[in-house]
Symmetry: C2
Subunit: 166 residues, 2 copies
Amino acid sequence: MTTKQTSDVIDVPAGFAGIPKLDQHLCFALYSASGLMTRLYRPLLEPLGLTYPQYLTMLALWEHAPRTVGELGDALGLDSATLTPLLKRLEGNGLVTRRRDAADERRVLVEPTQQGRALREGAKAVSAAMRCHSPLDGDELKSLHHTLTRLIDGLREASAAAPDRD
Amino acid sequence: MTTKQTSDVIDVPAGFAGIPKLDQHLCFALYSASGLMTRLYRPLLEPLGLTYPQYLTMLALWEHAPRTVGELGDALGLDSATLTPLLKRLEGNGLVTRRRDAADERRVLVEPTQQGRALREGAKAVSAAMRCHSPLDGDELKSLHHTLTRLIDGLREASAAAPDRD
DNA sequence: TACTAAAAAATCGTGAACGATTTAAATGGA
DNA sequence: TCCATTTAAATCGTTCACGATTTTTTAGTA
């Protein structure tokens, strides 16, 4: 531990003591990739009048509706503090309806409107256009997606197991 | 195309016409994974008085400083509209200094303070703690990181090639 | 030198994102 | 039946993120 030279690989025993460089952090790779995806989607979604999180929300709703805010939150990994204002904006743009569940007045049911369902057609072009932006071939994409899914499952477990530490 | 049954695999020719489900979107896997990472870091960073983007910024500055706002933006993939207020908050917390470059008064040089450099010690524990949260083994992590890096390079090219379409 | 163009950061407005709290409704005993 | 507990969504305050614009400084050129 006397040499202090900077090499481009981790030069500490086994993930000990030293802090990896920014570019060596998996979290930063995920952060960058996600941000780039969002930026690539933006110009494609703009003609549809959707932001990227709104697009994900519509994808969830096209798949299955009506759903409560909570169910939607589970599907998207977001809480009501994020979803409520987002859904109000979608409602304001005429793409979804929000109504209290008569059977349980605590719940709010969200559903695409006619216009919201119609938007699905335009989304096909978005989906198709995005397929062109990847440098990875089909097998690599599948493999990456599979690995990410495993990572996500692990991270979910970790975050459920240790919500915080005091 | 007369059967309208929903199956849990893609039931269209070859990525044509149909919109994949939310969970089949790579962008959503990246979005979820990145969000989960941020949430896992939060309780670890809170004692250090850092948010996650602030932590990434400090990682960049610990690696090399002083840097201009623009250089930092290139490293982090953020623009001055995001970085300026973030850096002002770091400055307000005594972790970095911001000063105009005497040689070019347009530039602002950012540098960790003594306190900002000292924080690096506390960050070692954060870095170590995060290593425990992954369900992937060392080789898988390396491979995932490598694939993500290639994806990021491709997405950067794509976003440079087609900033928008009108 | 004067004047336009380019570059760097800051500013503004909008929309996520989330912790913490609040409000309202349903649930589960005693 | 009554009341404490739980649950669901909404609200509030702070921070991130970015497109578009503005301000200031430098560079380039006639």
